[in-house]
Amino acid sequence: MNIVVLCKQVPDTESKIKLLGDNSNYDQEGIKWVLNVYDEYAVEEALKTREAGKAAKVTVLGLGPKRCEEALRTALAMGADDAIHVEDPALDGADAFAVAKALAGALKGVDYGVILCGKVAVDDDMGAVPQMLAELLGIAQVTVVSKVEIEGDTVKAYRDVEGGAKEIVQAKMPVLLAATKGLNEPRYASLPGIMKAKRKPLVKKTAADVGSSAAENKTKVAGWSLPAARLAGKVFKEGELADRVAQVVKLLREEAKAL
């Protein structure tokens, strides 16, 4: 059984996000790019499954411009065996559907029992590609997974449900699992791992190879806006404690509209 892990490159959460002048997108200059943290859980789970002798090979699959190679190499440095990179300007601005279609196209002819991915990418927070991809491939899907058990061709996945409950879902392979926090503690790529990753195969695919492009988009981003700048805090120092509390409650209700 082979595992495919979807890997997306996203801005480091510490990056300062600025918008382009026409608000059509955020400014990508000067951003530090990293592997999406939920995808790290997915990579780790795939590697652990392989190390437990339950998978033979781990392939990582990513889509995006040239710089995304770094995210794929990071996954290879953690221990994945090979990588597929869908890279084509025709996919710039692809929406969730066009991306899912491209990934489905890239998986044609690839033999897999499990697809692992993050439940969401922390850049646009869409959380739609996993579900769409599973539908396009016609395979089972379990999302928000915090524990996985594999027995033969059966996968038992524990879903985190609101309020701390777990929903336990069973499916036959092939199955797509979208990881959430708590699934595992991702390993660091070691220095020897980083050196070995340079020699691992990374195959490129074009929009034509995978049969999708931004022309397939079903949605259009109309524009971007940033949250309002945070105002300076107010400190209530004067007067009796009870009066000050009353003042705070009043402002929370009337000004902040938080109550």
């Binding site: 770094e70 190499r73 990071t74 440095a77 790529a189 070691s190 220095l191 980083i194 050196m195």
Partner: protein, 388 residues
């Protein structure tokens, strides 16, 4: 052609080591410093990460990432903790380096695989109580008696030499006189635990408190003749070459420490308000941070150039001395200003800048004081500062 971009591999390496340093070292550094505790657990974790043997070939268990990557690694660890960076820097350039560069195959096979995993540490015994900057004044002797060297003398301030996992010390000893009357110096591998070799941890340090520093005593300590490192009489040359490389490590520690102190000060200056605004908005503080950012940029260029020269196998000793001198100076200045920006809190152990302020002090002293670096640099200018 100039290219200031790091390679993809170097960017990944920096990111991974930064994560590792913040999570595995940053969370325990203050406590280890306070307790003066050397953490073997941390050494093992760093071994797994491949942080020992960074310029050793894979055949001996190294990761062979090259000098620029090595510098980035030391920098990232020093950005979080000086003591741990000392363990790594000394482990690589002083411990592993001489065995890798000057050892024969049997010596390399015996020591390197265990040193590269962090199972054992090697140390570099040059400094003696009466021979610091003047390393040629050393008195430790090794006399050949049949098939064994008999070693007598002592060493002081030897990093990684006196822990439970210290495996071997590269001891610089006088092995005779040269035809011109000068001392013949050789390096000999002395395994810890050899009868007649006592290693005593040194405590009550101002800085590098969770790094292992030892005082070494040799009393009729016998090791096989084969433990000679390289050729008899090559000791002085080997020590000088090792120190050239060691300067790169200390420079990287200065650069990383300065970066850590700077980031802490910048963050604090934006969070702390006085007179109704963040203190970073007062010109006095903003200019300190502007100076620090400028110095860091300049230091990084100098540091990476020195490492690049070494990687290109070009002469690098002169520039390495400059990088060591400059990076430790800016660490001193930036740590000082970082404490100033923190006000009274900067003097308290809850704030990392307190530790940075202490740790920077070693860098202008260890592996050749700043004064000795200036002698090396002046010599490169064709001057001969009299120092004897």
């Amino acid at each position: 052609m100039l290219d200031f971009e790091l390679s993809e591999e170097q960017r990944i390496l920096r990111k991974q080591i930064r994560n590792f340093a913040e999570k595995e070292i940053g969370t325990v550094a203050a406590e280890l410093d306070e307790k003066e505790e050397f953490s073997i657990e941390l050494v093992r974790k760093m071994g797994e990460m491949g942080l020992f043997g960074m310029f050793v070939s894979e055949e001996y268990g190294g990761s062979n990432v090259g000098y620029v990557s090595y510098i980035i690694a030391v920098e990232e660890i020093a950005r979080v903790d000086g003591s741990t960076a000392a363990t790594i820097a000394a482990g690589n350039s002083l411990g592993i380096g001489p065995i890798y560069y000057f050892g024969n195959d049997a010596q390399k096979k015996r020591w390197l695989p265990k040193l590269c995993t962090g199972e054992l540490l090697a140390s570099f015994g040059l400094t003696e109580p009466n021979a610091g900057s003047d390393s040629q004044a050393s008195k430790t002797t090794a006399v050949l008696d049949g098939a064994e060297w008999v070693i007598n003398g002592s060493k002081i301030f030897i990093t990684n030499s006196a822990s439970d996992i210290s495996g071997v010390c590269i001891v610089q000893a006088i092995t005779g006189a040269r035809p011109d009357g000068r001392k013949e110096v050789s390096c000999i591998l002395v395994p810890n635990g050899t009868p007649g070799f006592k290693a005593v941890p040194m405590h009550k340090k101002l800085m590098w408190r969770s790094s292992n520093t030892g005082e070494l005593y040799f009393e009729d300590c016998r090791v096989p003749k084969e433990n000679l490192l390289g050729k008899r009489g090559d000791g002085f040359k080997q020590m000088m070459m090792t120190l050239d490389g060691g300067r790169l490590s200390i420079g990287a520690m200065g650069l990383g420490g300065a970066q850590g102190a700077f980031e802490a000060a910048l963050k604090y200056s934006q969070e702390r308000s006085q007179f109704g605004k963040p203190i970073g908005n007062f010109e006095a503080n903003a200019f300190k941070l502007a100076d620090a950012a400028t110095a860091l940029e300049a230091a990084r260029l100098l540091m990476y150039k020195a490492a690049w020269l070494r990687e290109q196998k070009k002469p690098f000793g002169h520039v390495a001395a400059m990088a060591k001198l400059y990076c430790s100076q800016i660490f001193k200045d930036i740590a000082y200003d970082a404490v100033q920006i923190h006000g009274g809190y900067g003097l308290m152990k809850e704030y990392a800048v307190e530790r940075f302020f202490r740790d920077q002090r070693l860098l202008e002293i260890g592996e050749g004081t700043s004064e000795m670096q200036k002698i090396v640099i002046a010599r490169g200018l064709g001057l001969d500062p009299i120092y004897k």
